[in-house]
């Protein structure tokens, strides 16, 4: 019998985390006398901030069974899909495929999507797309563990996820073998304890086909070889697209098949009232994501913004642009349109987004010195940090 797990993670921030989890699965299966492989999806480009990428683990009873999974690009019928950042539940678009892939797309019917999140399953189901089968949503309480390309944040997320996998898919790995593997790999009883606690505490909920985000994710049909332009030629994107009713304003031309927003882990929230229309955000945005409004404002288009934060960094007006964690949003609606429709309501919305300390936390990087220590203390208090409480 074979079992497979995919870990969907964010480039750079979680590259090591993804690999440690899939390695851990194979090492644990080994303790049960099984064989397995751990690999990343080669077409991904995990050396880019936030870009969705995948790491896989396949385990089998013997080499013959494992062969069916060897030399493959990505397993497509997974027992468990792990999202180590809950904003990935909105769907993922990577270098490795086209269109928006729902988080549960490659989870087998009856399989489980395991998410590390501080949101409730009901909140997450607003993001997760519907699936034409029954599936399970498991939530392991915790914020997304982000680190860097050269550093690894030892907050036990790796072993906590391993413990949770043992709970939702014991036929892939059992908790005893996970514990044995952690002892063998890391020799740390505190980590063993974290895995066991996650195993005990992970919450699992069955999801029916009619539950979840009803939106149809955008798709892209790959052309036949004779439909493609020859000579590696790709038509240019027009400099500007006119927007109906936006006299004087326009939208920069954009790639219609690669939208990039699935890469975003935080988004700019703009206070149009104090904006001086200085143009700097629009000029500096590396993705030309700002639409030019008829009033001369700059509206970050949420289909095009990948959340790099350059606009916030270059904006000369205090609190005009604030990067806010992506989990505080459910859609890609235009902020400027909301502002035009009802300035007072927009103001209230803006205040809610940028004044509440929890939701204005960034997905990566810090606003002030000492913030990391505060977060660690908070995690420990809530029982999601190293060793739990």
């Amino acid at each position: 019998m074979t079992g497979s797990v995919e870990v969907v993670y964010r480039g750079i921030f979680q590259k090591h985390l993804g690999q440690r989890i899939t390695r851990g699965i194979v090492l644990a299966a080994w303790k049960e006398g099984k064989v397995g492989i751990s690999f990343g999806r080669y077409g991904d480009s995990p050396e880019r901030n936030g870009i969705p990428a995948k790491s896989f683990a396949v385990v089998a009873d013997n080499e013959e069974e494992l062969q069916a999974y060897l030399s493959r690009y990505e397993p497509s019928n997974n027992d468990v899909t792990v999202a180590v950042d809950d904003t990935l539940c909105k769907g993922v678009e990577s270098w490795a495929w086209y269109g928006l892939q729902p988080i549960n797309k490659l989870t087998r019917a009856g399989g489980t999507v395991l998410v590390t999140s501080i949101q409730t399953p009901e909140e997450l189901l607003k993001d997760c797309h519907r699936k034409n089968a029954e599936w399970n949503l498991a939530v392991l309480k915790g914020t997304a563990s982000f680190s860097g390309l050269w550093v690894y944040k030892e907050d036990h997320t790796d072993v906590r996820v391993l413990g949770a996998i043992a709970k939702v898919a014991p036929h892939v790995v059992k908790i005893e073998s996970v514990e044995a593997a952690i002892r063998g790999e890391w020799g740390d009883e505190l980590k063993v304890g974290s895995a066991r606690k996650a195993y005990e505490r992970v919450e699992i909920r069955t999801v029916r086909p009619e539950e979840g985000n009803p939106e149809k994710p955008y798709e892209f049909q790959l052309p036949k070889w004779w439909e493609m332009k020859e000579a590696l030629v790709i038509p240019g994107i027009p400099v500007r697209q006119e927007v109906r009713g936006w006299d004087g304003g326009y939208r920069p031309g954009r790639n219609p098949t690669f939208k990039k927003f699935a890469t975003r882990t935080m988004r700019p929230v703009v206070d149009f009232e104090i904006c001086t229309k200085c143009t700097i955000c629009w000029l500096q945005c590396p993705d030309s994501c700002f639409d030019v409004t008829p009033t001369g404002h700059y509206d970050a288009n949420m289909e095009a913004c990948c959340g790099c934060g350059v606009c916030e960094a270059v904006c000369p007006v205090k609190d005009c642009i604030t990067m806010v964690n992506e989990r505080a949003f459910e859609d890609n609606a235009s902020q400027f349109e909301a502002y035009q429709k009802d300035e007072a309501a927009y103001k209230a919305w803006l205040r809610e987004k940028i004044q509440d300390k929890v939701v204005t936390s960034r997905s990566h990087g810090f606003r002030y010195r000492g913030q990391y220590q505060e977060e660690l203390a908070q995690m420990a208090a809530e029982g999601e940090g190293p060793g739990g409480s």
């Binding site: 495929w97 086209y98 070889w225 020859e230 030629v233």
Partner: protein, 411 residues
């Protein structure tokens, strides 16, 4: 077995001028007639004769072209690659390890579908430092999507350069083409060459028009993006189809060339010499055709039914013609001025190509590999006799006693 050319040839007019020039100077004349736009140069023997000849034409006011002396062969090929992308008719060339140094640019040119014309003055790959002729330099690109042709005299060099532009720049093809010219024997030997009038060439060779693939501010495009495994195979397939189409476009070009210039009327892909009743056939490409033809005539005088086939286009490889010509023989000896160490039977490149092309025939000749003339060593009449005798014996017994022979090696 010549290919059908439907229209009667136009008689040569007095406008043809006869000149005593080297193979490289003949190519330079073709470039002048083709109204070349951009040429890059970096010296290495034996290719450098052509860059000198082009420089002279420009200096004399006979050719108006951008002549760029590059800082290396790599730059040389990069520059013309980009010039070709913006719609310039380009020429480039090198030899031996110079060509190899440019390999990164050379390798990407077919996928970009740029109709670059290059001259490879065939030269042994150093080390040892040597500038005599071997074909391994040009053959290194045999799998990459370059069209490859070999010529055996200066007139053919001039004619083939014009034909190569026409085929390479055909929008159905858009592939680069390299002309293999044997170092010294062709590049540095002067012969009488008929140089046609510009007017005739204009009738044969249309202007290069890249259409919607041209890099130009008025035609905003991206060229050569990064892609993943879900695109690469389709792109390779497009190149494969272009190479398949090249066969027909080459035939069209030769038929037209024959009609306008009155030359190159035979089969575009292979030249046959005394093959009609031949029991054994020698097979090869480039200037070794000269001594082999002489040897074949001598053996014929002695009553031996020996023939010779010269391959003109190596890519696309003319499989149907080769099957058609060689199926009648009992034994075929492929003379390679190259090597392919460790390949099947420790034979050489052309040998393995020919042998593979014959495999699907129900009845096929025995095939033997002759590695000969490496490093520019002469292919002598004695060598031709030696090879023919091996073939005649093979034809008689029907058995290949030894698949590969090194001919003319001391020892």
């Amino acid at each position: 077995m010549s290919v059908a050319t439907t229209e009667a040839p136009v008689p040569a007019t007095a406008a043809d001028k006869e000149m005593l020039i080297s193979g490289c100077a003949a190519i330079a004349q073709a470039l002048r007639l083709a109204d070349l736009d951009v040429v890059t140069a970096y010296p290495i023997r034996p290719y450098d004769t052509v860059m000198q000849a082009v420089a002279k034409l420009i200096a004399n006011g006979e050719l108006d072209a951008e002549y760029i002396v590059a800082s290396s062969e790599h730059d040389q090929f990069e520059i013309v690659k980009h010039a070709s992308a913006v719609g310039a008719r380009v020429f480039c060339g090198s030899s031996g390890v110079g060509w190899m140094y440019a390999m990164e640019a050379i390798a990407v040119t077919p996928a970009l579908r740029l109709p670059m014309l290059a001259l490879v003055g065939n030269r042994a790959l150093d080390d040892p430092g040597a500038f005599g002729c071997e074909h391994n330099d040009a053959l290194c690109v045999r799998d990459l999507g370059w069209m490859l042709t070999w010529v055996d005299h200066a007139q053919e060099a001039l004619d083939t350069a014009l034909i190569a532009y026409r085929v390479a720049e055909d929008p159905r093809i858009f592939l680069p083409c390299a002309i293999g010219a044997d170092g010294a024997f062709l590049t540095h030997s002067e012969a009488l060459v008929k140089v046609p009038s510009k007017e005739k060439v204009d009738r044969f060779l249309p202007k290069y028009n890249r259409r919607d693939k041209q890099l130009h501010p008025d035609n905003p495009i991206t060229v050569a993006p990064q892609v993943n495994e879900d695109w690469v195979m389709e792109i390779r397939k497009q190149n494969d189809e272009a190479m398949r189409r090249a066969r027909g476009v080459i035939q069209e070009a030769y038929a037209d060339f024959h009609r306008i210039f009155g030359r190159q009327g035979g089969n575009p892909f292979v030249e046959e010499y005394m093959t009609d009743d031949a029991d054994v056939i020698l097979f090869g490409q480039g200037t070794l055709s000269m001594p082999v033809k002489v040897g074949v005539r001598k053996l014929r005088e002695q009553g031996h039914k020996v023939g010779f086939v010269r391959l003109k286009w190596f890519r696309p490889f003319p499989t149907p013609e080769i099957q058609d010509v060689l199926r009648r023989a009992k034994a075929v000896g492929v003379i390679d001025r190259d090597y392919s160490f460790g390949s099947p039977n420790y034979g050489a490149v052309l040998y393995n190509e020919v042998r593979s092309a014959l495999y699907d025939l129900e009845e096929r000749p025995r095939v033997i590999s002759f590695i000969c003339g490496l490093g520019g060593r002469e292919v002598t009449l004695d060598s031709v006799t030696e090879m023919s005798e091996i073939l005649l014996k093979t034809a008689q017994t029907g058995r290949v006693e030894q698949p590969t022979y090194w001919i003319g090696v001391r020892g």
